[in-house]
Structures are given as C-alpha cells and as structure tokens.
Symmetry: C2
Subunit: 581 residues, 2 copies
Amino acid sequence: MKASQFLVSTLKEAPADAEVASHQLMMRAGMIKKLGAGIYTWMPMGLRVLRKIEGIVREEMNRAGAVELLMPVIQPAEYWQETGRYQSMGPELLRIKDRHDRDFIVQPTSEEVVTDIARQELRSYKQLPRNLYHIQTKFRDERRPRFGVMRSREFIMKDAYSFDRDVTSAKASYQVMAKAYRAIFDRFGLRYRAVAADSGAIGGDLSEEFQVIAATGEDAIVYCPNSDYAANMEKAEALAPSKPRGAATLALTKTATPGKSTCADVAQLLNVPLQSTVKSLVLATDETNERGEIVKTQVWLLLLRGDHDMNEIKAGKVPGLDVGFRFATVAEVIDHFGTKPGYLGPINTSRPVKIVADREVAVMSDWICGANEADFHMTGVNWGRDLPEPDVIADLRNVVEGDPSPDGKGTLAIERGIEVGHVFYLGTKYSKPMQATFLDETGKPQLMEMGCYGIGITRLPAAAIEQNHDERGIIWPDAIAPFGVVVCPIGMDRSAEVKAAAQKLHDELEAAGVDVILDDRGERPGAMFADWELVGVPHRVVISDRGLKEGQLEYQHRRDAAATKVAAAEVFGFVKARLQA
Amino acid sequence: MKASQFLVSTLKEAPADAEVASHQLMMRAGMIKKLGAGIYTWMPMGLRVLRKIEGIVREEMNRAGAVELLMPVIQPAEYWQETGRYQSMGPELLRIKDRHDRDFIVQPTSEEVVTDIARQELRSYKQLPRNLYHIQTKFRDERRPRFGVMRSREFIMKDAYSFDRDVTSAKASYQVMAKAYRAIFDRFGLRYRAVAADSGAIGGDLSEEFQVIAATGEDAIVYCPNSDYAANMEKAEALAPSKPRGAATLALTKTATPGKSTCADVAQLLNVPLQSTVKSLVLATDETNERGEIVKTQVWLLLLRGDHDMNEIKAGKVPGLDVGFRFATVAEVIDHFGTKPGYLGPINTSRPVKIVADREVAVMSDWICGANEADFHMTGVNWGRDLPEPDVIADLRNVVEGDPSPDGKGTLAIERGIEVGHVFYLGTKYSKPMQATFLDETGKPQLMEMGCYGIGITRLPAAAIEQNHDERGIIWPDAIAPFGVVVCPIGMDRSAEVKAAAQKLHDELEAAGVDVILDDRGERPGAMFADWELVGVPHRVVISDRGLKEGQLEYQHRRDAAATKVAAAEVFGFVKARLQA
C-alpha cells in the first residue's frame, strides 16, 4: 500500500471532548471520526485494525467449532416481548416504529433471535451441542456516551451463543469458549487477565471477564501474583480472618464525638487506627402483596470495618437480602435508630433490626461505632458482652491489596482493566420463556441450556491503546496494527536510488504477505516520522541517500529508543525476523 | 469443514410466502431465515456466499484504488436535512428518535455522511481524486417487502463514492469504477450485462446498471447481439425511421367503431394491422406562481403507434414536458377533446392542444385515430393534408425487438435482468448543498464532483439463483458457492475404507485451499444427494465401498447429467482441475 493511495489523516490536537488517551489518539491518528454523540465512522486506518481483530476472532471461533451466521440489526419487538426484555430494558434499548407503526428495536445483543433460531433448527439431541455466533453492529442508547469507541452507542460485537442438552454439556461448551478466548486474547498480543466474575442469579462459577490491563481501566481486577487466581471486584472473596476474635480489654463507653460523623473523623479525633472503627449501613427489604403493595418492611444494619467498602453484589447474596434490597430512607433510619445517619450503631436501636456483620467485623474486639445519638460514639464495644452475636456473618466487603488470596497461595494485588470480553453460562434464562426445547432420546422435549460469549470488537482498539501508548502516540502489537511496517524514504523526489530502494523493499515485504505501507506523500522527515509514531505502526524502516551510500538503512521498532543500522541487503530478512518475534 | 460441525438445514417445502424461485430455494437450502417482514437472518450456509461476494468486491475495489472505511448504520438527521433528503424522502427512510428525542435515520445509502467526511478531510486538490467505500448494513422501509432478500428492508450494500476536482477527472474516476465493476461481475461467474441507464437531471451518459440476466428479472434489458450496445428500457433509443413518410392513398373518413375504444379492437374491427393505428395519450403541465398555486395549465396530446408503449422517461425529456408532467384529468380531456378517453385524436379538438408525435408516427400515412366523438374513429388520416405537422417530433416509446440498434450495428433484442449494481455520475448534487469544497492551485474553493457506485451484496445471491437453478435446486458458480466441493461417503459408518478415503480427500482438498465439506452426517445416499443438489454445491465426489473395490470414485458437476468414474488415485487432481476450469 502506498500512503498516497490511502487516507492518512492526522491531527496535531485532539478535539476538546476527547477525555481519555485512547479517544484522543484515535481521533488524532485518523482512526475514527465522530458523526454524532457516541456514533463514529471507522476511517480507513481504524478499519484495518478492526478487520484484523475480526479476523483473529473469526479464526479462533471457527477453530473452536462455532458456526458463523448474521442476525439482523433491526429486530421485531415481538421476540423481545417473549422474554420480557422489551418491557424491562430501559431507554438504552433503542425502540423504532416502522411505516406501519409496528414495533422494532435495534439489537444491543441477540439472545432472543438466536434462541428463536435454535428452537426452530435444533430439534433433536443429535444436533447438540451447537455454538452460533455473529460479528454484527449493535446499538445501546447510552445516556452519556463517552470515551470515543470505548463507550459508544453504535458498536460492533462478536456475540456467540451455545446450546446444550444439559448442564454438564453446557459447562463443557463454556470451557471450550473460555479456552478459545484465551487463544484469541493471546493472539491480540495484549496483556490481559481472565477474571472470575459474578454470575448473578444463575449461580455457579461460570462467568469470566476478559480484561485488558490498563492503568486507566474502569474496572478493578483482583489477582494473586503467585497463582492463577483472578477475579473482578464484585466476585473476589474476602476470606474469613484466620485469627480468632481478641478478648475484650476496654469498657463500653459512650464518647462525645461532636460533628464527627465519619469513621475517619472519629478515628482521628480519638487517635485510634481506622481499623478500630465500624461503619453502619442501613438497608431495607420490602415484602409486597399480589397487588404490588408493600405489606412489610425489614430494616437491616450492615457492619463493615471503617476502612472497608461495601460490595453490593455480595450484600445482595445474604439470605433475606437476596430478594432485592434498597438503602433505607432517612425516615426509616430515624424510626429504627432514633437518630439521623452519621452516628448509627448496633447498640440501643429504638426498634429491632437485623444485624449483618462482615467477616472482619465479626472477629473485632474493643471496636468503635455510633451511639445512636447525634455527636456520640460507643468505644470499647465487644460482641457477646455489649451486644448479642450478629444475626448473620457474611463477606460484605470489597477486598483490598494484601488480603489473603482465596486460593491460599499468597496475598491479593489489585490492578485496573478494561473489559473487552465476557463468557457466561446462561442456563435456561432465555430458553425457558421462549420454550426452546429439543427432543431427547426418549422423544421428550427438554429445555436447552445456553451460554453467551461476547467480545467488544470496536472497544478493543481503544483498550489496546490505553495499554500501549506513549507521549508520541499509539504503539500497536503486530497482530492488530493497521500496518505492520512503514517504509519512510527521505528525499524520494530528489533521489532515484532512495525511491527505487523504498519501492523494492515495499514490494518484497508486500509479496511476503506483510502489511506494509510506503510513505510516498513527500512529507518532510520530521512530519513523516511524527505521523507514523502517532498512528503507531510497530516497525519502521528509513531509507536515505546518505544511508544508501554507506549501504545501510535504519530500522526502528516503535518501542526502541533509537534506530538500528541494517545493511541494505539484509533489511528484508531483518524486518521479517522482527515481525515474527 | 465437516457437515456435522456445520448447520445444514434443508426443507422439503418452501414457505407459502416465497413467490420466486430464489426466495424458495434460499429458504429450502437453509441460506436465510425470515425474522420479520423483509428482515432475514443469514444462516451459516448463506453467509458463506455473502462473504465470498464481499471478498471479491473488496479485492477489486482495492485494486481500483478505492479505500475502505465503515460509516455508521444509524446517522443523525442533521446531515440528511442539509441535503433536504430528510424532508424529501418518503416513509422508506426509517426515522428514529433517541432517548433525548433527537432525530436519527437508519441509512439507506451514505451520500450525506461520506460528503461530510470529504469536506473535512479532502481540503486540497492534491488529495483528489479519492474514492471511499464501505460494505455496510442498510435499511429501506419498503411498503411491500417481497421476494426474500431480493427486495428486503434490511440489506447489505457496497457503496462507493468518488470525489474529483472537475468533470473531466470525475469522468475518469467513473470509468475506473465501470471497469472495476466488469472485473467484479466477471469474477462472480454470472451472465450479466452492463447497460446504459438514464442519468436523470444530471445528464450525460455516465450511468450504467449491472444486470444479472434472468428470465424472471424485473427489468427489461435492450441489447444488440452484434455489438456491445446495451441499455435499460428507459434509456434505449428508438431511432427515427429511415424510410420517408408514404404518400396519402386513402380519403379521410369518419368511421363508426361502436364500443371499440382500444387500438387493438379498432384494428380487428376494421381488419387492418395494429401498426396502422395511432394511440392518443393526454398529458398536462402546470405553471404555478410563487405561492404554489396553478396559474396556467397546458394540455399535450402524445401520439404513439398502436403497438408501441410510451416511455415516461423519454416523454419527460420533451421540451415543455421536462418541467414535470402529469396525466390529464378526465375533466380536462372532455374540456379539450369534447369526449371521454377512448376515441381521442388530433383532428377537431374542441380546444387547442400541443401535439407531440413519436418519431414512428411522424412518418405514418393513411393512419387511424379517434374522431373525438364516442364510437367513431377517423381512418385515412394523413399529416399535412388532414392536420398540421406535429408541434414536436420525439422519441416517446419503448423500443421493441427488431428495432434498429442505435449504434447502427444490427437490430435490438430484449432480455430480462436483475439490477445488482449501478455506477452513476452525481456531479455536485450533494457537494453543493453540503458545501463540500477543496482548494485549487490558486487557493480558491471549488465544489467537488462526485460519483456513486453501488453493489447489492445481499441481493446478489438471489440474482445468481434466479439465473442458475433447476428443479433440484441451486447451481452456484464456483466463485460464490458456499462450498466448492462436497465429499459424500456412502456407508461411512459401515466401512472404514470409505471413511478413511473420504477423510483423506477432504483433508487434501482443504489443505489445497479448497472450500470442501465432508458430509459425515450419516444420511442415506438419496437424502444426502438431494441436500447438496438443493444447496447447489458445484462439485461432488461420491465414495462408496463398491467403487473403492474397483479403485474408483464418482465425480459429478451439479450441471452434469451423470457421474464420471475417476480413479481413486487421481481424484484430487481431477477435482482441482475442474475447480480451476
């Protein structure tokens, strides 16, 4: 490819609304172009990256036995009504009326349509297992689209769906995909982690996110540096402390803490470590009758150590809270504790509440909590002596660096990541409402067990850039670079030798199947180098008159601090060897 | 590929709503699946055809110097308001409101968006010419979607747009595309014609349709068997007759023709050839004031030979009619001719009308037309003697078989076709309202000259099938077949030799880059053969125990009446040679 026949379009400055590095660099490198809020054109340079990503995904999906099809972007609402998602999804589901006033949606995913195909096509146990996937445009009407293609409204996703005859087979299909995803992400050449994720109401451990590691990532990834353990923050378990509860050494004392309503303030005032304090969070669950009216409300007090944060997913799994909880209203708090939030605690509540203690709080002694009276805290609090043992002890908190790893192989570390893939066991969540059944050996209809497997195709370039860039621009891994090699001739117009050498190298590399671009635009060296460093082509060869006179060209990897001189005769082999590395 | 790992899904009967052969066969062969009216899933078998078509289109577009990008499916209305198409397009333009009540459309094409990109990116004459294309999902909310993917609502189109500095350069860019399209259609392996088409208001001859020949095609294609001349019916010129007008031999006579209001009925009654009659068509043009009120109406009488049909495009080019015409109302007809339609003619009109005679009518003598009195015609009519020469003589009619070819190289023939491609010179139709300008050498802004070039990717398989099928199913050309070769082992379960031979041939062909499918489903021979004949795989190899004992396999092309025995050792080379043919 010659640059003059391509569309190289770089910008010195990123637009003002580009907040993150990947968005800024993709705009500056001419990879994407904004058409509207959260809607982007993939410019030629960016599309080359997308196609390589799609190619890798397709190859590995096919290798894993998945079969590609293409489901429509615009789907009749009736399928979405069958599963109830037409009603339950919020405005992020883009709804359309056609000329006959019939309801349609623009697909955000395709569970309904693929399940409809399965219930028609997969009639017998002999046709299972089966995995169907497509790589297709999707739309999610985000309230606040941002970060470029990282959180856009129109996007491309690879979504695969597996259909199995039973749970055992479904788990095997899940594992095939989990393995294929590792192969895919390995090929991308990005640092990533497959992290255990919460599988929601379905239960089990069959949910993993594929996170591209990046300091700017939205998600916290918990991992053990000594083992394979990795989970997202929702999922990572905080083990019960192995040390027993300490003996009580202090007397229960009501202590004045005027104006100090946070654990941090109280700890500072009393000159104790934050770890001695306990924070109180008040939740409520409602019981409703068949008309949906609330007939009974239960108030819950969750206790966490002052330096810990509540994990809502974990709280939502506590028996009794798993029906769906909400934060209590101020009126409910006053009614049950006799005071406003800020000075709450489990001792002397005005009305009975259920006490749920985090595992860590359950082993604390001589702790501090609110006194249920404004401007006062209780100090020297001890379980058993000052209040009954908690109603429930549970893992309620986010893990922190240094917590023991759940696999017992060391302590946990935390880094940040960008979710670009997810494998998930669905069970019969969709097959049940849509009655997707097959006939088993006895001719009896059985519900299919499903799994779903997504990769954010258009999000991936942004994640790759968040991980791989410097002050000069993007640094692509070879596998997904728009071009693997750029040949930069200096003074091509003045020197026939330079022109011929550049063309020869370009042609040789192209004939060898290398994605090479020859910059024949006639730019000056500084501007030319800046463009390709911004675009992030990993391998560069510079050809100059002076170099040729010495029989040498200059090679530089995008990550190299300086160029390496390479004998002109050897440059083809040299570059090929670097590409294969 | 093994059939057991693919999704082979054939039907004995086509659904009732499948009217045409391609729709029936695509449904029966499991190529597509209906999701809603005019909305189809491309099933794995069909998607393989699409991907091959896309691959050929992409290769040839790139070879021709076009650059691929990807414009969004959902586009903000504001761009469409700039060109006025948001207002002027009917309900086939699918309009959407997002969660913030802002207006969007689902793209039916992308002129607006690509012109917006061009006006931002192509600033200088140095960046021109440029051709940008994408292969993307589109939507046209057809009132009555039908014929499967031939006239669906959601479809995939390759649309390319060229940008040039002036008309000369734009014409050169057009020719590059016209040539690339020939290369593309040649590679598809379909019989097609590139036919000249009307270029509408823009004028010039830069509009060609690429029509796949099929007896069931919606379009009539006019061509000269002795030359390259080909045009669609709107465009094909009916030359002025070379013979002079004959002398008058009959007297003008008012003849009773009770109840005979058509030319055919009159010719039969009077026992004269239909070619002696002249039909009268009454049109009207309105002159409006600045408030859009009609201030003046002109009535026109168009005269065509009784056996000829009016061509509205040609009529619309007659000076005076080119402002836009309509058919006259019955009231206007009575007002101007003194009688109702059925007995109209140019003689003795009650009020003056403009007479436009088709070229053929202008040289007629002793002809027959209505007498402007119910149940009477005039016979023996002659120009000059009985009525003045016509106000205008023009080509008003559709050509018919046997008309002289406009290039003077023989006579015209007519066949039917399905339009799957169109190359079109746009001029400044979009660049003008959107102010897409570049700076010329003198630094002056100039409007870009544009062209647009479409290929109906999802329509093409249907067109290919309309052209290539028989009572057993589809017959794909090699280049776009879902699989090039099917290996059918008979009794694979019983015979280890058959299984091994089938697997070996499959593996050899696959290793050689052939798209081969091994039918390992264990179907009985009849059902297996019927499936692959329905799907239309062009090359089949049957492996049986009996054959192997004789050292022979059976090869049969989908068009062959019978199988050919091939020595087992030679079958790989034999099949490869057939594929290359």
